[in-house]
Symmetry: C2
Subunit: 454 residues, 2 copies
């Protein structure tokens, strides 16, 4: 078997590339950090891409952290790939649960521990060095556009207007994103379905101040009790959501997809035990866990507050109670329609003496991506080549709102090439990425672009 | 009509008595103030009672602020009255809502503005000067024991052990308390029923940490949703409590009491408007407000908390949610039995995947006092004499836990002689007491002891 030149190049540059990644990981870019660090991070990425041979620039907007855009032109006939990644990270707190400092990357046991190691600085860097390995050896073979943003972790609030404004500049034949993890430690995967989400706040108000529960008990309607009932009424005893029309438009998974899911092992006991639970008892009764997580919508109270629930008893009827409801939506569900039905539901379930208000905080549709496109197939082949195992086509219970924005504004289905393990502590203390995973990810990236070039 | 000598004495000493009350009001005795101020206040009261002719002393205990005890012996055949009052006050905050300083009494518009003016330094002082007026003119005619405590506003946590320890010393034929207000500004009243109360906390727990509502949505059971359902299920659509046996032991009001309530005007629109409401829609449907407040038990969520309900959306399934439930109980209801039923209810309504815990924080039975005892009748006659109007026999939706402790430990029914108006801002900024109310209260006290002596 002939030497794979890009892989040989990667192997020869392991140490210097690791040192470079550490530089990137040292720049603090969570929402709690300073704007100048975001600028510094964007400049670092631009400079690296320029050094690699790209035409790279920083695009600024009034509201968002800087976007890094870079372009490498191979030929007018080669396919054009858009690579998306994000350089912002989750806030590192609680800091005292980190074994070593979040912004001081350390290697232990072959793994890089740092905030952003797996989400998403490590994976985007894997693409950069994979591309460099091609450029320094056999050539890239595709036209490549790179877009790195700095506010994915807060829901990419400005990506839609950015994509709309720069649609021509960003035009591509396909989109590749490495911002997901393997389905299991030994099972590479490509996500082809993400749930949508909706976050709403419900506020119930009663008297214009907290009142004495004795002096006014039996007289003043209680907004905390009213809110509890509204939330309780939103689901029935079997865990089904009772909001009018909630399930009407759902597009069920295809036969093919269902068949592929049957191949995926879902270890309920192990995953539940990781959270101190004896099993998973959320969602709709009588439905298997994978379906509940991938193909069923959910309705969760993510926060509730009202009156005095701290230490001690304050004998009041509170003036106000509020709750955050987050839903995960599945293909076919229309957030606008569901929000309208939810507003009606809350209005219908608000008792006399209470006023209620519903505010939409966030919404995004579920996304489904094809498995049979040449780009998805190239991704699968690249994964098999790098990791030695065919990837599973999986869905994901979570949402990556940008994917749906790319579909809607640019008509691009992402190829979600996973880099990372499911236990990488993404969004948690002690985030990590295995160094082998980093380099195999780089090999996968190189293979992906090479396959597309052929 | 012959001159009423005690009243003439009171009239002749108005100014010096007002100055003395101001001294008492200047001593800060809320839970946020210093122990030495409590001592100073107790000493002030003891000294005043000694000057009046009492044998007075300060009784200290390891845990409670000092108790003031005083005794005046008239004869072995005269009835013995125990007068209870409290010299502690509510914390004065929010300070910036006071027109003048809470501990710097000021007269405006014929009213004394100060923390404690109405609750309870003013009323207990009215008794002192009423007693003095008798002693200085026609004689007291009864044996009088006085007990003033300093922790009524925090629920008198040590009164039961104190009464038990000093049962012999405090033994009396009747108990008089002036720690309630007129039912309406022009309607003197005697409270003959107070609701009991129970404060419990319910904690629901799910996974051992907050988890992502996408990654785990449909899998992990949500303790906030579970708690909302438990609370919602505690009442039905008509506002009735569904806890097993909750209403079983209730002793309904007597025909006589119901007849007297029919005479009491309850201005729902006005009282509701004071709280920014168009009416009172709490409690059980189809029951009139006075019954809902006086003779019906209630179940209110006084506080609820779980997950993240602050600004912004955190898309989680929280690990934990908790709520404080306060109930007001009516005669016949047994807090022990109800707490046991509540524990069972919560256990029965806790879904799989959630654990729940119920903790009892506070409990007290409802109290009913006779209207036909000679002491209650003497109180009514004294009120009519001083205020020119027969008092209404009223209940109160709130609880004054000490009354039930006096009943239980000393077998004494209190005669609750109201001094003060319903809008005296008790527990609120700008607490006040009308100076006329103070002196009429003193006349009432004098008349009460005089009638008992006859």
């Amino acid at each position: 078997m002939p030497t794979n030149k890009p892989n040989a190049y990667l192997a020869a540059h392991r140490d210097e590339n690791l040192a470079a990644l550490f530089e990137l990981l040292r720049i603090p870019t969570s929402i709690k950090d300073a704007p100048q660090d975001y600028n510094r991070c964007a400049e670092w990425l631009r400079d690296r891409l320029v050094a690699s041979g790209f035409a790279a620039e920083i695009l600024t907007t009034p509201d968002a952290p800087p976007y890094v855009f870079a372009e490498y032109h191979t030929s007018d006939t080669a396919p054009t790939v858009l690579l998306y990644g994000h350089y912002d990270v989750q806030p590192p707190d609680p800091l005292d649960e980190w074994t070593t400092e979040p912004y001081d990357p350390q290697v232990r046991d072959g793994k890089i521990f740092a905030r952003g190691a797996a989400d998403d600085k490590g994976p985007l860097f894997a693409h950069i060095i994979g591309i460099e390995a091609l450029l320094q050896t056999i050539g890239l073979g595709v036209n490549l556009k790179v877009l790195f943003e700095g506010e994915e972790e807060i829901g990419s609030p400005h990506i839609e207007s950015f994509l709309t404004e720069h649609r021509e500049k960003l035009r591509a034949d396909t989109l590749v994103i490495s911002d997901t993890a393997f389905y299991a430690s030994d099972l590479p995967s490509i996500s082809v379905g993400l749930r949508g989400m909706m976050g709403v706040e419900i506020v119930c108000t009663g008297a214009d101040r907290d009142v004495h529960s004795g002096v006014y008990g039996g007289l003043v309607a209680n907004p905390a009790n009213a809110l509890a009932r509204i939330i309780a009424d939103m689901t029935d005893d079997t865990g089904r959501v009772t909001i009018d029309g909630f399930y009407d438009d759902i597009i069920p998974p295809s036969e093919d997809e269902l068949n592929s899911w049957a191949q995926v092992e879902f270890d309920e006991q192990k995953r539940a035990a990781d959270l101190g639970l004896d099993g998973f008892h959320g969602g709709q009764r009588g439905v298997d866990p994978l379906h509940r997580n991938w193909a069923h919508p959910t309705l969760d109270c993510s926060g509730i507050s009202g009156g005095h629930a701290g230490p001690g008893v304050k004998t009041i009827i509170p003036a106000r109670a509020n709750a955050i409801i987050t839903m995960r939506l599945v293909p076919g569900q229309n957030p606008d329609k569901i929000f309208a039905a939810l507003q009606q539901f809350v209005a219908d379930h608000t008792p006399r003496g209470i006023t209620s208000e519903v505010t939409l905080h966030a919404a995004g549709r579920a996304a489904l991506f094809p498995t049979d496109s040449p780009y998805a197939q190239a991704g699968a082949a690249a994964m098999q080549q790098a990791f030695g195992k065919a990837p599973a086509w999986v869905r994901c219970g979570a949402s990556i709102p940008i994917t749906e924005v790319f579909q809607r504004t640019m008509n691009l289905d992402p190829v979600m090439l996973s880099i990372g393990a499911p236990d990488d502590n993404v969004h948690s203390p002690n985030e990590k990425l295995d160094i082998d995973m980093l380099y195999k990810g780089a090999e996968m990236a190189a293979a992906f672009y090479q396959i597309l070039a052929d």
